[in-house]
Subunit: 333 residues, 2 copies
C-alpha cells in the first residue's frame, strides 16, 4: 500500500472526506452526520444501525480489565442509540486480538460483551475474529424504531431549552487520576475511576424522551460537551447560550485538590455518555416527567439562539465556548 | 489490562469461547455458527447482519492499493450475504487509521468502499473512525430477507449433490506469486493477481439459488474449500464424498510451472469467494438454470453422505480431505 507524507487528520475531517466520496443511498432516512444510520423498513419503521470500534491503545487505560474494556465497547455504541431514543436489539462484534491472548482473556472479553449488552436489554448474536497488533473491539448495533420517534441532531429551534441528562467532568478527572500526577481521597478516587471503568449509557432516559416527543434534537457527548454543543448547533443551524456549565460535584472537588479548572474538565474532557438535548419550550415539564420515569434527571443549562454561536454567560459577560473536544486522534491517552 | 502467557488460539476456537459465554437471544433466527446473523422482523421477514474486519497486516498484501483493500473489506462481507442468498442494503464502516495517512489515502479508502458496495447494489450509509497501529477496515452489512429463503449451513441431507460456483486455487496461486519465489508468464500472472486484488462475491448466483429453493445448505469459502466442506458437514451432520477437486485451469498451469500440487492449492488455499452448496437431488436442473440466469456456473463435485467424513475418490481409493484451511491466525501472509 502507498502511504504519503505525515499530515495529521482529525476524526471529523476523515469522516467528511469519506462522506464526500460516497454514492448517497436514495431515500435514506438517516445517513452520515448523525449518531446512527437508519434505513426505511415498510411505511412506518426504520432499521437503526451503528458501528464504532474500541482501540486498546487510545480507548483503554491500562488499569482497566479486559472485561471492562469489552463492556465499554458495547456501551459506547449503545450511548448513540440512547441519544436517538432507540432500543438496541442485537450486537455483533468484529474482534481483533493480538498474539498471545489466552482462552481466559477471550472469556473475559466475551463476559464483558455479554454484560454490556444484557444491561441494556440487547443480545450478542454474531461476530468474527482476526489477528491485530493491538486489541480492537469493533461493535455493530441493530434495532428497530419508528421514523418520527428518532431524536436527530438536526431539529433544534431558536428558543428551545438546552438540557443534559447529568453532570460532566468525572470521566476527564478519572482519566487524569490514571494518567497524570493527580490525587484524590479514597472515596472520590473510587467514584471517578468508576465513571471511567464502568460508563453508563442513558438508554432509559433516551427511550422515555423519545416517547414523550418533547425533544427537538439530541446527541450523545462522547466527544465532550463543548464539541456536542457545536455539532448540535451546526447541524440544527442555531446557536446556544449557556446559563451554566453542568459540572459534577466530584469534578469540582477533584479540581480544587489538584488546582485545575473544573469548567475546563466538564466542557472539554470528553468520553462522557450523557445526552445533550434541546426541548421544545412548551414541553419542558413533560420532558422532565419522562426522564424522571426513567430514574434520571434533566438539567437545564441554556437556550438555543438565532445567533449561530455557542456562548456562555459568565457574570453577565458572554464568552465563546471553544469548538474542541475529545477527538481521539489528537487526545491520546 | 492483564495478559497471560502466550498460547496460540485459532479463529474458530476463539469464536467458540465467545459463544459459550454469551446469553442466547430467545427465538433468534440465525446466531453464531453461520455466515450471518438474522433477527426476526414481523411474521415473515428477518434482518440479516454481518460484521468482519479487514486487517492490513494479515489480509492485504503490500502490492495491493488502498482502494483495492477497502473494496475487499466490503466484498468479503458481501460474500457471506451471497452464500445465504441475501441482498445487502447498507454498509457501515468502522475505520482504524494509522498516523500519517493523508487526505488522499482516506479518499482512496472511501472510493474502495463505495466501489465495493455499488458493485453489489448496496450503499455505504455510516461509520466512525479511530486511530490504530495498523490499517483496520471493519465492515457491517445489513439487509432484509424472508426467513425460509435463507440458505443456511445446516440443511444438507445424505444424497444431496455437492456443488460449487467456480474453480479454486487462483487466490492461493496469486498470493504465492506475491509472497514467495514463484513465477508465471505475464498473462497468467495478471489473472492470478486479479483474483487477489479484485475478488468477486457470488451475489447474483446466491440470490437466484435462494429464489429457486434448490439448495439445502450453503456457505462461502473464505477459509478455503476443505475447511468449508468440513464446516458444512459438521453443521449439517453429514459427510461428503468428492468425485473431483474443482481446480482452476490457471492454477493447474501455475502449479506445473512452479512444481507445486494444484489440488493442494485448490483445497487448502483459502480466501476464495465461491459458494459451496448442497442441492436437493430432484432440483439439480433448476439449480443450474438459476445460476446460469445469474451469468454463473454450477459445478458438481460430489455428494453428501451418511458417513460423517469428508472423503475424496482418487483412482477408486477414498482418501480423507484434511480439516484445515485458511485460518488467519495461523496462515500469516
Amino acid at each position: 500500500m502507498t502511504k504519503a507524507s505525515s499530515r495529521p487528520l482529525g476524526e471529523h475531517r476523515i469522516i467528511e472526506i469519506i462522506q464526500n466520496n460516497l454514492t448517497i443511498m436514495p431515500q435514506i432516512s438517516v445517513g452520515f452526520g448523525d449518531d446512527v444510520s437508519a434505513i426505511k423498513i415498510g411505511e412506518k419503521h426504520v432499521a437503526v444501525l451503528k458501528t464504532d470500534m474500541l482501540v486498546a491503545k487510545t480507548d483503554v487505560p491500562k488499569q482497566m480489565s479486559l472485561k471492562q474494556a469489552a463492556r465499554k465497547a458495547v456501551i459506547m455504541n449503545i450511548s448513540d442509540f440512547a441519544s436517538k431514543g432507540v432500543q438496541p436489539t442485537a450486537v455483533l462484534v468484529a474482534l481483533g486480538l493480538p498474539k498471545g491472548f489466552t482462552e481466559k482473556d477471550v472469556q473475559a472479553i466475551a463476559e464483558g460483551l455479554d454484560t454490556g449488552a444484557q444491561e441494556y436489554g440487547a443480545y450478542v448474536v454474531g461476530g468474527d475474529t482476526s489477528e491485530t497488533q493491538d486489541l480492537i473491539i469493533s461493535i455493530m448495533l441493530y434495532g428497530i424504531s419508528e421514523k418520527p420517534k428518532l431524536m436527530l441532531r438536526t431539529g433544534a429551534q431558536p428558543g428551545d431549552i438546552l438540557a443534559v441528562t447529568g453532570f460532566f467532568g468525572n470521566q476527564s478527572a478519572g482519566l487524569k487520576l490514571l494518567l497524570k500526577d493527580c490525587i484524590a481521597p479514597e472515596e472520590l478516587r473510587k467514584k471517578l475511576l468508576d465513571s471511567v471503568f464502568m460508563p453508563k449509557a442513558r438508554l432509559a432516559e433516551g427511550l422515555k424522551l423519545s416517547e414523550s416527543g418533547a425533544a427537538s434534537a439530541s446527541m450523545d457527548s462522547s466527544d465532550g460537551l463543548a464539541w456536542s454543543l457545536h455539532e448540535l448547533a451546526r447541524l440544527s443551524n442555531v446557536g446556544f447560550l449557556l446559563e451554566s456549565i453542568p459540572v459534577a460535584s466530584e469534578t469540582v472537588e477533584f479540581a480544587k485538590i489538584n488546582n485545575l479548572d473544573s469548567s475546563e474538565l466538564a466542557l472539554y474532557g470528553g468520553e462522557e455518555y450523557e445526552l445533550v438535548l434541546t426541548i421544545k419550550p412548551g414541553k419542558w415539564e413533560s420532558a422532565q416527567t419522562a426522564v424522571k420515569k426513567a430514574g434520571g434527571q434533566l438539567i437545564r443549562i441554556g437556550k438555543a439562539t438565532k445567533e449561530k454561536k455557542v456562548l456562555i454567560n459568565i457574570n453577565g459577560k458572554k464568552q465563546q465556548v471553544q469548538s474542541r473536544g475529545w477527538e481521539h486522534f489528537k487526545s491520546q491517552l
